[in-house]
Symmetry: C2
């Protein structure tokens, strides 16, 4: 959340990870990455222990050993803070690598998404989804930060495959993200205790969904 850095382009993955960064420029401050990180870690700890509703910026500040004024200089609202903290633990918004094949592209993407939906990240996402049901601003921010980037990645991978002639172009392309990633969400987002799923299991599950995803987009 560096206020002095040059503005990121819309395609820069940092933009995706920090949805509120460019909405409200504020007074410059020397960068203090360690303190930022301590605040975000404290946010995650309080969220995991107490849930969204019970989280207060005062509790986060106390836990991180900073003043609430310091916290508010970096994040102007509880929602902004929570989303920034979630982004540090949810790794599914990075740029899609071009592996050269649709199968390779979707394998990487599904593995990333499975990782984001399990472990502490998965538990956190469950809590945020529940809160989003009653908090439209948070729902919009989560959609922009975590759902849309993944859907873009899917769309790009499928478009490249069609350009290479590997598959026919797909009608209803706006549904592709949900088609490819939705099954993993169904598997992990509703399960009790996704934090108890280890990384190897998450990856193996992603790989089992891959053939279905390939057939669904026309590469059977």
């Amino acid at each position: 959340m560096t206020r002095t850095a040059p503005p990121a382009s819309p395609d820069d993955p940092r933009t995706l990870r920090r949805p509120a960064a460019e909405t409200a420029p504020r007074r410059g401050r020397p960068r203090d990455a360690a303190r930022d990180r301590a605040i975000l870690d404290a946010t995650l700890a309080v969220l995991t222990e107490s849930g969204y509703r019970a989280l207060t910026t005062a509790a986060v500040a106390a836990r991180a050993g900073v003043s609430t004024a310091t916290l508010y200089r970096r994040w102007s609202s509880k929602d902004e803070l929570v989303i920034a903290a979630a982004a540090t633990h949810i790794e599914d918004v990075r740029t899609q690598p071009d592996t050269g094949t649709l199968e390779g592209d979707l394998r990487v993407l599904l593995r990333d998404k499975a990782a984001a939906l399990t472990g502490e990240a998965g538990r956190l996402m469950q809590a945020l989804v529940g809160e989003a049901a009653q908090n439209t601003a948070l729902a919009d921010a989560l959609t922009a930060a975590f759902l849309e980037p993944v859907h873009r990645r899917v769309g790009e991978a499928v478009r490249r495959a069609a350009e290479r002639g590997q598959i026919d172009s797909v009608p209803d392309a706006d549904l592709l993200g949900a088609v490819v990633v939705g099954p993993l969400m169904s598997r992990f987002l509703l399960m009790p205790r996704p934090d108890q799923v280890d990384a190897a299991t998450a990856q193996a599950t992603a790989d089992r969904f891959l053939p279905f995803a390939l057939r669904a987009v026309g590469a059977g």
Copy 2:
């Protein structure tokens, strides 16, 4: 939640809608369907207004015009009450009709699921999913009441299609439910305000996902 009815068989859809009904037999009471319904409607109203955390059985009883003792004679815990109330509004657990074709079967199923994820039912499901993140008993009950029945329906439809020779039998059949229904969950469960999606839009969205589901299970 009729205590005097004969026990339902495990395949009876009533069993699926009333997950806790057979776990704790209690003293017989004359059936009072209208009063039961008033309590469940009050539960939904309080849930929608205040969310799960803020809901108390006292508030529900007051709104329904009954004593908390009356409420507890029917439902022995807040979780049991909430799940029973949700079941009255979520229509995705009924028995899968056999339409004679895989396309027909999956069309009905996807439309049912889309209806369950939108409108008031959808908003409620969002709130429950969020609470389930911190409540393993509720997560287990939701999985048993709403996820497993749909997955069974998908499995049966695909098995019938394989028996008719319409498709090859599918490996990793345990994933079929998530493959077919997950995209709709991805579409609606994370969206802001699914209660504002009308029934016609929900059905049209289900129909757009149908070709992807058919290809995914090998009927391209």
